[in-house]
């Protein structure tokens, strides 16, 4: 710390304050992890790690708990939402950086950031009152009539379309994570040196060829980082999903069926969990989610750092 050597009391004070602020973050994370482990210890002892993760049982009356159904819901909604969101988000980013005229760049950028600022409960209510009816009346019957007839793919679209299911939840989630992926991809695209792009244009490349052969390869890692950050967000999203997922602890082959995610289970059941083992199992779920998020964010960070170092 070079500041400390100057021995100026104001400087020392300043550096101590900022160091404390930075340290507090680490302390908070360690504290949260400690509490999660302590509170879930009862459930960890009872069910173990392997059994808990792979058990599909979630029965508060008989106090038998397992995370598999929740992990299933979390995994499917996260995967589908990324599947829907990435192409759109990358498209937005390409348009904003390479194609849009200057006067459009500002407004679109602001619109994307506004989308990110909408509270998730509003997405949830919009999903329940507006999107779910549209899904159940138009989109899902149409899917059943088309893709539902395809032999193997059809399994994904079985059942009565109610609009309260994995598919609707994934659509809502994808709308919520588009801004994240789009703005990070945009920043990554902007890192492509103008010289390289101009050289490509000078060689006679079309816009599509420049994007495909220069910009995207150059910023691949940046896009990946953005995707993983969105993944983190999708993993943790609660309210919007709780409204449209149907909240059933089950593993289903159909996307038109209800399921539950880790966060939704926590939000739904925490207030009324009255036995110790029940509460402890909910903390256990939270611990699993914490570890999952931590891993995904760590991966994202590593890739982003690498991308930055390269440019």
């Amino acid at each position: 710390m070079p500041l400390l050597f100057k021995k100026n009391p104001v400087d020392i004070f300043f550096s101590v304050i900022t160091a404390l602020a930075a340290l507090s973050v680490v302390v908070f994370i360690a504290g949260i992890l400690y509490i999660l482990i302590r509170e879930s210890s009862l459930s960890i002892e009872r069910f173990g790690v392997f059994n808990f993760i792979f058990s599909t049982d979630w029965d508060p009356v008989r106090e038998s708990f397992g995370a598999a159904t929740n992990l299933f819901g979390t995994a499917v909604t996260t995967f589908l939402s990324l599947l829907f969101a990435i192409p759109v988000a990358v498209g937005i980013a390409i348009f904003v950086t390479e194609i849009a005229p200057n006067f459009l760049k500002g407004p679109i950028g602001v619109a994307i950031e506004l989308l990110a600022a909408i509270p998730s409960i509003i997405y949830g209510m919009w999903g329940l009152f507006t999107l779910a009816p549209i899904m159940s009346e138009y989109i899902e019957p149409a899917l059943q009539a088309s893709l539902g007839k395809v032999p193997v793919l059809g399994i994904l679209f079985e059942g009565t379309p109610m609009g309260i299911d994995l598919l609707t939840a994934s659509v809502i989630l994808s709308i919520m994570i588009i801004p994240f992926t789009a703005s990070i991809s945009r920043d990554a695209f902007n890192l492509t040196p103008a010289v390289v792009k101009e050289s490509a244009y000078a060689l006679g490349a079309t816009r599509w060829e420049v994007v495909k052969n220069v910009v995207i390869p150059y910023s691949r890692l940046g896009i990946f980082g953005g995707v993983v950050l969105s993944l983190g967000r999708a993993l943790g999203e609660t309210m919007a999903v709780a409204f449209v997922l149907g909240n059933n602890h089950q593993i289903t082959s159909s996307l038109l069926d209800a399921a539950a995610t880790i966060t939704v289970t926590l939000a739904n059941e925490f207030t009324e969990a009255d036995t110790d083992l029940y509460l402890s199992s909910l903390f256990y779920l939270a611990l699993i989610l914490f570890v999952l998020s931590f891993i995904t964010l760590a991966i994202a960070k590593i890739f982003l750092l690498r991308a930055e170092r390269r440019s």
């Binding site: 049982d57 979630w58 029965d59 508060p60 009356v61 008989r62 329940l128 009152f129 779910a132 009816p133 159940s136 009565t160 109610m162 609009g163 309260i164 709780a242 409204f243 149907g246 909240n247 059933n248 602890h249 209800a258 539950a260 939704v264 939000a267 739904n268 059941e269 925490f270 207030t271 009324e272 969990a273 009255d274």
Partner: protein, 336 residues
């Protein structure tokens, strides 16, 4: 400068008054279901007596936990706490208002109060054994009603809730299969159906999904004009959910002060009693006499002056007999 000083003075005086008032506060926490009526009572109580009631609707589970840890003046729970547990944690318990659970359906052509169900058929529907509306077990109860041969969609609560506890207790008493396979609790492993978050979630699903059936809090069904069903009570009458049938249930039930009023208000014997109802309860820490007297004074005031407010918010006030029983219970424990 002068005006600033004066303003400062006025503000200081005003604030110190509120500070004095705030000193007289009752803190409660627990069930979300009675929150609207408690806060309406609290508002009027503060206007007449100056005592503030601060109620946090954090859920029954949290309410029981907080009063057990003695962090609040009273806890509130939608499900009665068993007497053994009350003794162990040194708590007192009494009912405050009555609520009920109503079955709501969405069958095109069927209006409120037309469909008749009994405990057996309700149980079989929620077990997933009766799958269509024109099942003979429903038809025999409704010979004159035209019922479609459509698949029934069951809607239940996804969040833990006192409403679910009351309803599943009813189902457990209705048929042995339910008791054995599922059981009763604030959250259970539902054999069939989709889960809505909160009363509003269930109501919304039922309204949207055709040929569905769900259960909601009476107040919610009434305010949202949902299509409710009639239910057969143990006396053999088909009753409709209303203030009268809930009060009939409460009046005919045997609330025992010796057991701290522990009672599920299910299948009450009254001739006009609605079979699925329940009281919501207040929990007190036995040794905290001084704060208990404050709390009891509030509920005594509410028993005397709060019935109209409660009814306006579609809660069923306790019948007079039961109120007097509660007062006797307070007296017996030296807090009234």
């Amino acid at each position: 400068m002068k005006t600033v000083l004066r303003l400062f003075l006025i503000l200081t005086i005003a604030l110190s008054f509120t500070a004095v008032q705030a000193a007289e506060t009752i803190n409660g926490a627990g069930a979300t279901f009675p929150y609207p009526v408690y806060s309406a009572w609290a508002y009027q109580y503060q206007k007449t007596t100056g005592v503030r009631l601060n109620y946090q609707s954090i859920g029954s589970g949290g309410g029981v936990r907080q009063i057990t840890n003695r962090t609040v003046d009273f806890g509130a729970s939608d499900a009665p706490v068993p007497p053994e547990k009350l003794t162990r944690k040194d708590l007192l318990q009494f009912p405050a208002v009555i609520g009920g659970v109503v079955l709501v359906v969405n069958i095109p052509g069927v209006k409120s109060g037309q469909l008749k169900l009994d405990s057996e058929s309700v149980c079989r529907i929620f077990l997933g054994e009766i799958t269509e509306w024109n099942d003979s077990r429903i038809k025999s109860l409704n010979p004159s009603l035209k019922l479609p041969g459509r698949k029934i969609t069951v809607v239940h609560r996804s969040d833990g809730s006192g409403t679910t506890a009351i309803f599943t207790t009813y189902l457990s008493k209705a048929c042995a299969d339910w008791k054995e396979k599922v059981g009763a609790g604030k959250a259970v492993k539902w054999p069939v159906g989709i889960g809505g978050k909160g009363n509003e979630g269930v109501a919304n699903y039922v309204r949207r999904v055709k040929y569905s059936i769900g259960y909601v809090e009476f107040a919610y069904a009434k305010q949202n004009k949902l299509t409710y069903t009639l239910l057969k009570n143990p006396s053999g009458n088909f009753v409709k959910p209303s203030f009268e049938t809930f009060q009939a249930a409460a009046a005919s039930a045997d609330f025992d002060p010796q057991k701290h009023f522990y009672l599920w208000l299910i299948n009450a014997p009254g001739k006009n009693a609605w079979p699925i109802s329940g009281a919501t309860f207040i929990l007190l820490a036995r040794e905290k006499k001084k704060s208990n007297i404050k709390t009891v004074r509030f509920f005594d005031w509410a028993f005397k002056n709060g019935d109209e407010t409660a009814k306006r918010l579609v809660y069923v006030p306790l019948p007079d007999d039961l109120k007097n029983k509660v007062r006797a219970y307070w007296k017996q424990n030296g807090i009234y």
